[in-house]
């Protein structure tokens, strides 16, 4: 790993990464694309790009320009890479319903194959981060405790200590990470979608990203234990205080009312 990161600084590294990226995208496409058309890899790749461009013209070109150069309504997509497309479209953020400070996630309307075609097209515009492979983002074998430390240094300031999200300026927010596909978490760190800064491999290596995903899996998946009971959202003392007032003190007052109420008198019945 160390050797690899040292070599990454070589001037030719970008080219190698690009080649890898293309190969990876193509490979992924080949793996996922419908089988009947048995074609050679490169033609599959060019077909994906053609298909992707068609999808792009329909869903994206209004804001991002006819060839991804960007416009007043949307940034340039040259060099954002396939990972950015996979994240933005895969989580339903793109295509956006309307331009704005923050595009929230919504139901994804594309199939994974279509997303891959779009990604292939965008990747063909310029080199950029590549969709990660499963062994890159799989939490298996990663160090959750290390991930926790990285998470508290790099992520929790916006996303809360177990990834429940938090507020940013002027109505923007860092979304909750609960139930987010590890692949998308990985891609978000790689590409820095919207106002989130990116954490590229050069400053946060792949295994560190996997550690973070492992930590999130440990503390915020549906099977994560919460030994103390109901969590109240794990958002800190505000919900605890509300609970203490409404249910704690509420119960005490209900009991006090019962204790002080008159016992029914014999005459009444």
């Amino acid at each position: 790993m160390k050797k690899l990161s040292a070599r990454r600084r070589h001037p030719l590294a970008a080219l190698v990464v690009l080649l890898f990226a293309l190969a990876a995208t193509g490979g992924l496409y080949a793996a996922l694309a419908p089988a009947p058309k048995a074609q050679a890899d490169d033609s599959a790749q060019s077909l994906a790009i053609t298909q992707g461009k068609k999808l792009y013209s329909v869903g994206c070109a209004t804001c991002h320009g006819t060839s991804g150069q960007g416009s007043t309504d949307g940034p340039s997509l040259v060099g954002v890479g396939s990972a950015a497309v996979d994240f933005q479209v895969g989580t339903g953020r793109m295509p956006a319903q309307q331009p704005g400070a923050q595009i929230p996630k919504k139901k994804n309307i594309y199939t994974q194959a279509q997303i891959d075609q779009l990604a292939a097209y965008i990747a063909s515009l310029g080199p950029g981060p590549v969709v990660p492979t499963k062994d890159q983002y799989s939490p298996a074998g990663a160090d959750a405790a290390k991930g926790g430390e990285l998470f508290r240094t790099n992520c929790s300031q916006c996303h809360n200590f177990v990834g429940r999200g938090g507020a940013l300026t002027d109505g923007k927010f860092a979304p909750s990470l609960k139930g987010v596909d590890p692949k998308h978490v990985y891609e978000a760190m790689q590409t820095g979608p919207q106002n989130m800064p990116s954490f590229p491999d050069t400053t946060m290596p792949q295994d560190a990203k996997a550690d973070i995903i492992a930590y999130l899996h440990e503390v915020d998946s549906s099977s994560s234990p919460n030994p103390g009971g109901f969590t109240l959202g794990t958002i800190g003392p505000v919900s605890e205080g509300l609970f203490a007032w409404v249910f704690g003190l509420g119960a005490m007052i209900a009991i006090a009312v019962w204790m002080a109420a008159r016992t029914s008198k014999a005459k009444k019945s």
Binding site: R9, L150, T153, N154, Q157, C158, G166, L168, T169, K172, A174, G192, Q194, N195, M196, P197, S198, F199, P200, T202, T203, M204, P205, A208, S223, S224, P225, N226, P227, G228, G229, F230, T231, W258, M259, R262, T263, S264, K265, A266, K267, S269
Partner: protein, 352 residues
């Protein structure tokens, strides 16, 4: 506000009638007089022994339930291992021990509580009793008595007459607590210039907090966020917490044309700028960086700084910009500091 228009005799139904046939003929001295304590009414339990027996059984049942609760508590303590996690709807995957111990304890306590209150409510006499109050202050005779005692005592002490004694006593009493104050001196060192300096100095390499390796300019992409600490600082160091509390660094890269502040651009390296991670308001590690707006928000009190404009405060309670660290690149191609921060990092203070 009484503006009925009815002029019929029957309209008296529309009015509260006077009590006990007083209406009209006798003028009552005070119609709102305190009627006195109403007569005591009996509960079913007071007159029906069957009902009382039923209450007795309920109370005994509740006390019995409490006993079961305590036995259950002990049983759960023994049965469940401390690390056993069970799924209980709707609470989630909870500790079996915590859940069972808490609920059995609640049953044990609530059994006693509900039993005692039910006992009091249904079986003990509920007849209200009247007690007299007494004024707190003394009558004139006692007051005069005490006054005389006080005057006698004061005269015998000579306190008012012997001024020298009085003055020196006040002086002694005022001075003696100083001994205690002086003892507090060694609670901590004097501030001196401790808050002015950090570990950063000329030539110190910026170490990436994630990888513990030197940070190089080409590592830092536009729109990325990186945290750095000075070389040589180890988590295992005795004073790591004190040092990182001042030296923590936030590195971002802006497009050079986006930087509005000339000094900021000069103090950075090709658009890479290093700011203190410690908020200038009260010292929270600030780092909620929005890469499109270049704003950074503090999660504690929402001070907002514009990293493209010398980390100027644009919102919130912080009073001055985040200090910037002057950086450059050394011969090995690593980012290095060109000195310490020019101003103290973190919260403002009097001597700042």
């Amino acid at each position: 506000m009484s503006d009925e228009t009815g002029s019929h005799n029957d309209v008296s139904e529309n009015l509260p009638s006077a009590h006990g046939g007083h209406s009209g003929d006798v003028v009552k001295p005070d119609p709102f007089a305190n009627p006195g304590l109403p007569p005591h009414e009996y509960r079913r339990q007071d007159i029906d022994e069957k009902a009382a027996k039923h209450s007795e059984r309920v109370v005994a049942g509740l006390f019995g339930l409490s006993m079961l609760g305590t036995i259950g508590f002990i049983a759960c303590f023994v049965i469940f291992p401390v690390d056993k996690i069970v799924y209980i709807f709707p609470f989630g995957h909870v500790s079996a021990l915590n859940f069972s111990l808490g609920l059995t304890l609640a049953v044990a306590l609530l059994g006693i509580g509900v039993g005692a209150v039910h006992w009091a409510r249904t079986l003990m006499s509920d007849e209200e009793i009247v007690d007299e109050r007494h004024r707190a202050d003394a009558d004139d005779e006692l007051r005069e008595n005490i006054r005389q005692q006080w005057i006698t005592g004061a005269r015998e002490s000579g306190f008012g007459r012997r001024k020298l004694i009085r003055t020196t006593m006040y002086g002694a009493m005022a001075l003696v607590p100083l001994a205690g104050v002086v003892l507090l001196r060694d609670l901590g060192p004097l501030p001196e210039d401790k808050l002015r300096h950090t570990l950063w100095s000329k030539g110190k390499v910026l170490i990436n907090s994630n990888t513990n390796r030197p940070l190089r300019p080409e590592d830092v992409a536009v729109g990325s966020l990186t945290f750095a600490q000075p070389e040589g600082l180890q988590e295992s160091d005795e004073d790591f917490q004190q040092q990182i509390a001042k030296a923590a660094l936030m590195i971002v890269r802006l497009k050079p044309e986006d930087i509005k502040d000339k000094q900021e651009a000069d103090w950075g390296h090709q658009g890479i700028v290093a700011f203190s991670k410690i908020c200038t308001h009260v010292g929270c590690p600030i780092s909620l960086y929005e890469q499109q707006t270049h704003h950074v928000l503090c999660p504690c009190h929402q001070s907002t700084f514009d990293l493209s404009d010398g980390a100027r405060v644009i919102f919130g309670p912080a009073g001055h910009p985040l200090p910037q660290l002057r950086i450059s690149v050394n011969g090995d191609g690593n980012l290095v500091a060109l000195g310490d921060f020019a101003v103290p990092v973190g919260p403002a203070f009097w001597e700042r």
